[in-house]
Symmetry: C2
Subunit: 341 residues, 2 copies
């Protein structure tokens, strides 16, 4: 285990899903809890019980503000967990949730969030079967924090793994990126920007179902690019699989409002969090069918191929620029958008 | 669903595990998420998957201070979840944990708590297979909050239920009560009391294993009396089973320091939280063997019969007083000891 100084003190970037988060996990958490399920560092841990592959996942939610265009902390808490199961190839079976509430939280806000969770559960076809509620003093929890846990059964047709990814495979994206992160940033009202952007928060199960129906044998790996964005998810893949990801920057859908906000703020849309998009790595012979599958689902109309897997440069994500050159797309560094989920 | 006014605003007592918590759950949470697994309101939700009974449970931890004699938030987070599985008759398979960290938390405190969790896992024979870390601004999370999720397989020999409880059954307790709650209260340093009391936090799996080995056919119902204490757990049983619980107050083990602190503070030890005790309702013909089983486990030396189940008065817990009369022991009301877990 590394010296204490390597992790002291905790800063916002430790929770941003980028390089600092990864250092915390690799230097402090993994050595303490060493076991194969955890070390996979995927969205969900796969446990084999009685011959079944069960996927389990846990997510904390501290989004600020609690409510924003397109959703709220309750919606996010359900979708985030459902989606971690979905991209692991698992059908969600049950969720549990713990709520840490601030004394003084108006009852109608709590009730609104509980109803938002219930509605998101109905939409995603899953039930909340248990949970816990704790209350802390006024001023201590920003209204409420939610942690959600999910359990699901992995689809028998799938065996997803970074190690299954091969040069020539296609990189598919379900739709436009950055909507969620920019929505949260604007909802805080600290920037004087007008926009109609809304969070993309939604369950990814319909996308995964459609992919499984039409392209299961070609599916290699999936991820929902939340904190750290598409760039961070693909860097994790590139490092784990020992391959290169070559992106066609022009192909990546970004809504105008998001592109504009990113230009003003000096942010890369590839680093902005999404809560309703899916990246799938698909064998080339299944790519066309997989895109058709994604486009057949409501909300998947913008699905497209955004790049391909190459042999080199190993552990690298590249994108071709507008000038014909290429640039390295790194993992998120620091925390430009704290508390977006 | 009840009117908003019935839950507004949130107060500390909503998290205390007593009457106010129950109103929040019954009036707001259950109507929104209505499903049989949740409505059982037990320590763990039982899901039947592929013929196996899986127990799942979720707990939030906001204990203050983070460290106290006998344990810390990390120890509690593991034991609390392992114990909810154990008293549901399940062998813990895997845990997941989310941490909400406050920016500025010294790295050595985080590392200490992660090591405390890892050590508690080794002791309880369970692994942490996944999790999530979020960071909030300084001042927003009292150092750290932890939520833990557990999954286990229910022992085939058991079918525990409040509805299995019969008049004449014995009420067994694994040891002295109130140690945890009083330890936390004193650890805050707000009271000028000297004491050697230590939290009883520990895994209950050895107790449950011993009971299963020697008295499985006689086991009706188990619970770990945490928030709200023995009084609240037994009132929940009495109400759900439609029976009376008659306690022999003299038989209930309470350490002198705990009794003294309770007398000074006007608290009833039966309302104080425990983190390493187990209540078991056992058929009379198995009571002796079950006590021997509990006493055979380290820490179970004080295990004893503290009362019995009667037909009437329905949904009531009674205790005989030192003067030969009897008094009703109610569920916890209010929150005399906030944030004890």
């Amino acid at each position: 285990m590394k010296a204490l100084s390597s992790i002291a003190p905790i800063e916002m970037a430790h929770g941003a899903g980028g390089k600092t988060s990864r250092r915390l996990i690799e230097n402090v958490i993994l050595p303490a809890f060493a076991n194969p399920a955890l070390e996979a560092l995927s969205d969900a841990a796969i446990l084999t019980i009685g011959g079944m592959r069960l996927a389990t996942t846990a997510d904390g939610f501290v989004v600020k503000p609690l409510q924003f265009p397109g959703g709220s902390i309750g919606t996010l808490a359900v979708h985030g967990t459902v989606n971690d199961l979905a991209v692991s190839g698992a059908r969600p079976l049950a969720l549990l949730a713990t709520m840490i509430l601030e004394a003084g939280l108006p009852g109608n806000i709590l009730q609104r969030e509980i109803e938002a969770m219930a509605e998101a559960c109905r939409h995603a076809g899953v039930q909340i079967v248990g949970g816990d509620t704790k209350v802390v003093e006024h001023g201590m929890a920003d209204g409420m924090y939610i942690s959600t846990f999910g359990i699901g059964i992995v689809d028998e047709r799938l065996s997803l793994s970074a190690h299954a990814v091969r040069p020539g495979d296609r990189v598919l994206l379900s739709g436009a990126i950055g909507d969620h992160g920019i929505t949260i940033l604007l909802a805080r009202g600290e920037l004087d920007l007008e926009s109609n952007v809304r969070s993309d928060t939604r369950p990814l199960t319909p996308f995964v179902d459609a992919l499984c129906e039409r392209a299961a044998p070609g599916l290699r790996w999936m991820r929902d690019p939340t904190r750290g964005g598409v760039a961070t998810s693909l860097n994790e893949l590139a490092r784990e699989a020992g391959i290169a990801v070559a992106l066609n920057e022009h192909a990546i859908p970004v809504h105008d409002d998001v592109r504009g906000a990113c230009e003003i703020l000096g942010l890369d849309p590839l680093h902005i969090a999404n809560e309703g998009q899916l990246i799938a790595i698909v064998a080339p012979e299944y790519a066309e069918e997989a895109i058709a599958a994604l486009q057949s689902v409501a909300g998947g109309e913008e699905a497209c191929v955004i790049g391909e897997i190459r042999e080199t440069p190993v552990a690298t994500v590249l994108t071709e620029t507008s000038y014909g050159g290429s640039r390295v797309v790194d993992t998120l560094v620091g925390d430009p958008l704290p508390r977006i989920c």
